[in-house]
Symmetry: C2
Subunit: 337 residues, 2 copies
């Protein structure tokens, strides 16, 4: 129950606490004799430096805060799996927070991390819309911040690890066009930059092929399955018929497929579907989903490296790292008819 401290070691050895501290910090001005006596005692008592006390004086906790919206989503866990080894070898601990997709809880978690004096925070794609002020407070306090998959909060100067959303749209749309589809609709996301860029990619890919999408080919909504379902219902009434749809994310794509099946049509025979995100289980659906994904693990790895480089060396100016997206072809975008 009683902690071993430097005081105890110093006492038993008849030296000062500072001497013990110096040995453990490899200072040069300690004789070999004393050094080994101290080291032996440390070994004997199984002494471990008290990280809390060190943090207080050094003003470094060697801890990173990780804020994710949901633990049960495989891609956030993959992000953490990308962060963990990098942090671990450099001696940093990870303080894990789940915001449960709730801006209020996210705010509370960020405040908590501020109080705990974490050296850095990785904020993974949460809906932090209201929490700009807390983020600013954090950075002002000297905490390095990295945002993953978010490109808003322009006032917050921090590193960002993103994918190339326009390219996401181009990849998906070109793939559908190459597969012989002509009427390629788009189920857009909510009004956030990422969704808008995916839409732009869709437009660009069509334009490159001389296709000018009529207004009815696009329905904007949200990122949920139900949004995709509703949007597809609308798209199915368009004449001439749409024969493919690029959805802003995977849940929306799943909703779209449901609407297609409900209308008695087949995927991909009547309508091809492509999503974005490569969520787990996407290949286990009734019709495995073609999607555009990117390595979450790389995102985590880059985020951790940006953070730690900033902490250890001189802080680079805020950087944007782009993780390239890639097309994952499954059955939902198979050949026409």
């Amino acid at each position: 129950m009683h902690q071993t401290t430097m005081k105890r070691i110093a006492g038993e050895l008849g030296v000062s606490i500072t001497t013990v501290s110096k040995v453990l910090n490899n200072h040069a001005d300690i004789s070999d004799a004393t050094r080994s006596r101290v080291l032996a005692k440390v070994e004997e008592l199984g002494y471990q430096r008290n990280a809390v006390a060190r943090s207080l004086t050094l003003r470094r906790t060697h801890t990173l805060g990780i804020v994710i919206p949901d633990l049960m989503h495989s891609f956030f866990v993959e992000i953490i799996a990308g962060i963990e080894p990098v942090a671990s070898v450099r001696g940093y601990g990870l303080l894990l927070c789940s915001s449960s997709e709730d801006a209020g809880k996210e705010r509370a978690e960020l405040e908590m991390l501020r109080g705990r004096q974490v050296d850095g925070v990785v904020l993974a794609s949460a809906n932090a819309s209201g929490n700009t002020d807390v983020l600013l407070q954090l950075t002002r306090q000297g905490t390095t911040l990295v945002m993953i998959d978010r490109d808003d909060h322009p006032s917050v100067k921090c590193h960002r690890v993103l994918t190339d959303d326009e390219r996401v749209g181009v990849l998906a749309t070109s793939h559908l066009a190459d597969a012989g589809r002509r009427a390629i609709a788009h189920i857009g996301g909510p009004p956030i930059v990422h969704a808008k860029r995916r839409e732009k990619g869709w437009r660009d890919a069509l334009k490159a092929r001389g296709i000018k999408p009529p207004d009815e080919w696009i329905v904007r909504g949200g990122f949920m399955e139900s949004d995709g379902y509703r949007a597809m219902k609308r798209l199915l009434t368009v004449r001439p018929k749409v024969d493919a749809v690029f959805c802003a994310n995977d849940p929306a794509a799943i909703g779209a497929m449901k609407a297609i099946w409900e209308a008695g049509l087949r995927v991909p025979d009547d309508v091809a579907v492509v999503g974005v995100g490569d969520i787990a289980l996407g290949d286990l659906l009734r019709v495995p989903l073609t999607t555009v994904g990117w390595s979450r693990r790389d995102q985590g790895k880059h985020a951790a490296e940006l953070l730690l480089n900033g902490l250890e060396g001189e802080g680079d100016p805020p950087q944007r790292v782009i993780i390239p997206p890639r097309l994952i072809v499954r059955e939902s975008s198979g050949p026409h008819r």
Copy 2:
């Protein structure tokens, strides 16, 4: 870049630091006037108590260490998902460590947690065989410990959250017997209590049906897919033929199925297979796997509650919480022939 401290607040208000501290800790001996002046200043400056400094004096970090063998295994994440909400509402942070199934790294992580003065540690089913000494050091230091899915290290006095391994064996075996199987073999795990208990359940269930398993019906090995594969190869040579196999865990069961297919036989037509653990994707296999599982989330929840109750109130004596296992029937144990 500059931290706001109580000193600053006290200075601006012309009161002592202790007064500020007392306000924030709701001490009674502060006048309403002073109290609100302090509170107003706290609000104005966006002040947050420095948790590091508090931890040092209070000798409480309000942090739990979580050690899991692998982040990418869904059940460890589920355990964390069970812990997180409990810890979060009580104001505890989670320090996440992954041992990557490596006893050396696990040891290092535990040492790290000791240095960081975490109030409690949840140790999820890692192969900590060699690390008893660190665990003892931790508990001696006053850290509460909860082990999940491990019932060894008897010298370490701590709470344990387990499942009923004998019942696991009984459930699996009875299910196979009820499905009309007569020659129910067992692929046992490594020589650890959990595997032994599952084996005992298998024996008991057979005995209850008047079946006396010959020695060739059991092959013991490890928990890996390759172990299951090798074991099944052996079992397929047994005469009279075995028509079902209960495997000590899911990976072994998957290995067993591979061996069965390789021999030109079918699952479940020729040999029925049941595993243990309900790993993710178990239902996405070529033949979805019947298995015995239990709620990892409940395990996490119970672990967190045991820990925090011990920390907040008076420490209960080490407890054993048993999470009931349940059978999950899929196709690999379907009807004979």
